[in-house]
Symmetry: C2
Subunit: 108 residues, 2 copies
DNA sequence: CGGTATCCTCGATGATACTG
DNA sequence: CAGTATCATCGAGGATACCG
């Protein structure tokens, strides 16, 4: 498969815009590992503010990458789950992990 | 291959930080297609300022993704080429292209 | 041609307090 | 618990002019 840029809008660009944010790919990585609750994610994402986490989750929900499930309990419980579209991002993460492991920082 | 986050620093994070910038992945996509001169890249990257292109190219050079080659001619000629490390980013782009094509904008 | 130098803008994020 | 509201900050990038 080649990488022409003639296609509009560029599929690579859309993919990067979907997962490439400062926090977005970290959120997704945690979800691939099974994390799915708000505070659980916030604890695992060191330094993220609730505001930013909330904004990114809504973004992912709007892009149909994840689904938000509210359980009517007290205290309230909300779970986020990957859709099929979200699950299929996994190969991208695996490929990135392979490259990142092979070429450690500053390794020529 | 799984996606534990126990590895430090996270290889996925390093990969995203290497290629995930607003312009960086577009520069690389053009280089995968053979573009390798400064003004050529600037023309193909609609809207990029020479300042930003210069900054990103230096960044990629420092990360050993590309090599800068100066030819002592007039007018000056400079060519950028992917290293092996840079070439091996291609599978990531291919995987992203596949996903981006399958899941078009807003497609559930 | 292949950049650098300056100045400026703006959106993404942080910090924090509060709430159903 | 799972957010929202408000205000402040900060750095990436844009515009533009100039240079060897």
């Amino acid at each position: 498969m080649t990488l022409e840029q003639s296609e509009y809008p560029c599929p690579i660009e859309r993919t990067i815009q979907t997962i490439g944010g400062k926090w977005t790919f970290l959120i997704l990585r945690n979800m691939f590992q099974g994390e799915n609750r708000f505070n659980q994610l916030q604890r695992n994402l060191d330094g993220i503010s609730p505001r930013t986490l909330s904004l990114r989750l809504k973004e992912l929900e709007q892009a149909n990458i994840i689904i938000r499930n509210v359980f009517p309990e007290t205290p309230p419980r909300v779970e986020y789950h990957l859709t099929e579209k979200g699950e299929e991002l996994r190969p991208i993460f695996v490929t990135m992990k392979t490259w990142g492991n092979k070429w450690e920082i500053m390794k020529p």
